[in-house]
Symmetry: C2
Subunit: 436 residues, 2 copies
Amino acid sequence: MTDNPDRTIGVAVLGMGNVGAEVVRILDESAGDLQSRVGAPVELRGVAVRDLGKPRKVAQELLTDDPAALVARDDVDIVVELMGGIDPARGLIRTALENGKSVVTANKALLAEYTGELATAAANRKVDLYFEAAVAGAIPVVRPLMQSLAGDTVERVAGIVNGTTNFILSAMDETGADYGDTLAEAGRLGYAEADPTADVEGYDAAAKAAILASIAFHTRVTAADVHREGISSVTSADLVAAKKFDCTVKLLSICERVHGTDGRQSISARVYPALIPLSHPLASVNGAFNAVVVEAENAGRLMFYGQGAGGSPTASAVLGDMVMAARNKVHGGRGPLESTYASLPIAPIDDVPTRYYISMKVADKPGVLAQVAGEFTKRSVSIAAVRQEGAGDDARLILVTHRAPDRAQSECVAALEDMDSVLKVSSVLRLEGTDD
Amino acid sequence: MTDNPDRTIGVAVLGMGNVGAEVVRILDESAGDLQSRVGAPVELRGVAVRDLGKPRKVAQELLTDDPAALVARDDVDIVVELMGGIDPARGLIRTALENGKSVVTANKALLAEYTGELATAAANRKVDLYFEAAVAGAIPVVRPLMQSLAGDTVERVAGIVNGTTNFILSAMDETGADYGDTLAEAGRLGYAEADPTADVEGYDAAAKAAILASIAFHTRVTAADVHREGISSVTSADLVAAKKFDCTVKLLSICERVHGTDGRQSISARVYPALIPLSHPLASVNGAFNAVVVEAENAGRLMFYGQGAGGSPTASAVLGDMVMAARNKVHGGRGPLESTYASLPIAPIDDVPTRYYISMKVADKPGVLAQVAGEFTKRSVSIAAVRQEGAGDDARLILVTHRAPDRAQSECVAALEDMDSVLKVSSVLRLEGTDD
């Protein structure tokens, strides 16, 4: 592991979709720069693809449909995994690490489940496992959290880390169109996949939340620990109502250190669509852009903003990792791996203090507001703002609560649903990004 | 340089001002966390101060007024230099590096002159020289540029990296007060030093531009290479006029890859107050906050935002570096040092394409605009927008040009100053952050 600038660093790329194709292109076009930055030549040894027959912009002899054989080659020092999914990626990465190869991956679903297993394999062989591209594409978030903030105490990470849902919510806000039409439009424009479930139901954002929470709080957090709600029930009426409270609606991935009244700490990791004030830095993050706000004890509030998806931006993050892994191969040493020493417990969503926005159709008669307010008082949830709108059959009550345990908030909603004078609870969203 | 978790990492801190005091506090309060993150205990060996008699929040026996003796101690592995200034910091850091100690510094003035010398000393002994805190305080900028973007090609870095001047310009914009009064107010509030020259004349921002340009373009850039103009000539009238063009005024540090018509590349590093469109992400960075926008070929546009100064935020960056340097001491390896392989030439400001905003008092008679426009046409500078305001003795012409070499722009201004019908060129600022 000492300096050896004479060696050549061999790279294997697994998967040649949007990101893989860009990685292969840049490896070729920037070979000179990459060599200068690494301190040794970097050579592409091969690219594993599913379909060898498909025309691709890479020399045919570099292609293989046997990723295991490619990973096993002695002249491969770094494996760049961009195939996605759990299997066979998991086994290939493990084998690579166990054989002393460093790995760069953008596979958030895999990392959100198996970082522990993979990081252990990397630690055993003293090699790198880098994954900047797994969260927020080109935006450096993993490395700043893991390294730049290594001497600080992170209190909260809140981000817009899914471009598809942010595109949909931004478009609904702008056009007034409803969810279904906007999703269809997003699909036509290439912002939503044929099966958009992973994005719109928050699975992608939850995997990223698990990765961010793990790093921020030095605790192993998996996707199953993340409370998850998607955007499919957000209506255009919610976006209109949000504006009346000087807010907009965003799908947020939130990782929070929860300070219990007994002084004990726990972690909340959660994904849901929420109202945030228009003055909040995340409110102006529109379209397919991503942004992550980090709040740390000493650093204060930091924001990272940029393109969270797409071939070239994601390839930029992959190649930054690859250069660092290659440098370590040449000069010795390695980057930090999983840090789980804090082992904080996960706070169930019920215990996490939240704020609610509730919109309901009510009977147009005197005393309804007092009755509604009574249900909140009973559960020690205080109301921050109320709007009464419409009249007759269209009488509506919209209210926003102060912070209280989520369980108390959701019990208030259940009580409202049981009230005769509340005809329908049309919408319930949380409110984030406020100080009180 | 192999794993040795049993060793203790000894740290010497040079200087105990705002930042030093916070570093010492956090080293003490977070000892357990730091040990877990480093993989070995971290111990403060001593703090060098100028005045031993001053009361400080650290055990008296740790204080010394002999920094050279502290740096020379065998049980010091990492030197944290926070004294500022060129001497004796330069010699102390060199000695530390030459003796195999890693160094963390926030000393931008020193780095803007002597990174070459210091990085060479670090490279010879295979130790770290980290300086995240030297640019934009708590905001991770150095590490993302050096590591996360290591596989990309940076085209431009533009930042608000001086809190004092940003506080003054924001306050002038908000209150309409003039420069002198606002500077005095900033001094009273602790946002400007007794001698504000380094801030208001752009020396601080220029040192940071030199550091950023060096990293972004893999070329050694020193403060002398940076074209520098301060904010002392910005008037409240400029801020009012800027608004009419949907702009505001910010002191920008700009590092740009200039693509010559012959295909050759050069670097422009420059600091000056400039108009930027209100829609630009830097326009809403107000008060003492800092932000840096990076544009890279593949990553696209990234923005980093946060607190650029202050004891705790800067200490956060210092400690992040310290943890990484300590990890390398324990686990082997080291971070990237100076990278100067590209060795691009520096473009003189005259050759750099810029846009100008020019405000002038003119004679209130027909034909003045045509005359003025003629001077621009002669020099192949095209005018993007013109406003004629006032009348009689208060007739004014405000114009904004399209992009052209800065020399041609400044020659237009000189020609205007010679025109009889132009009574006074009251203000000249550049316009940045537009695509055309």
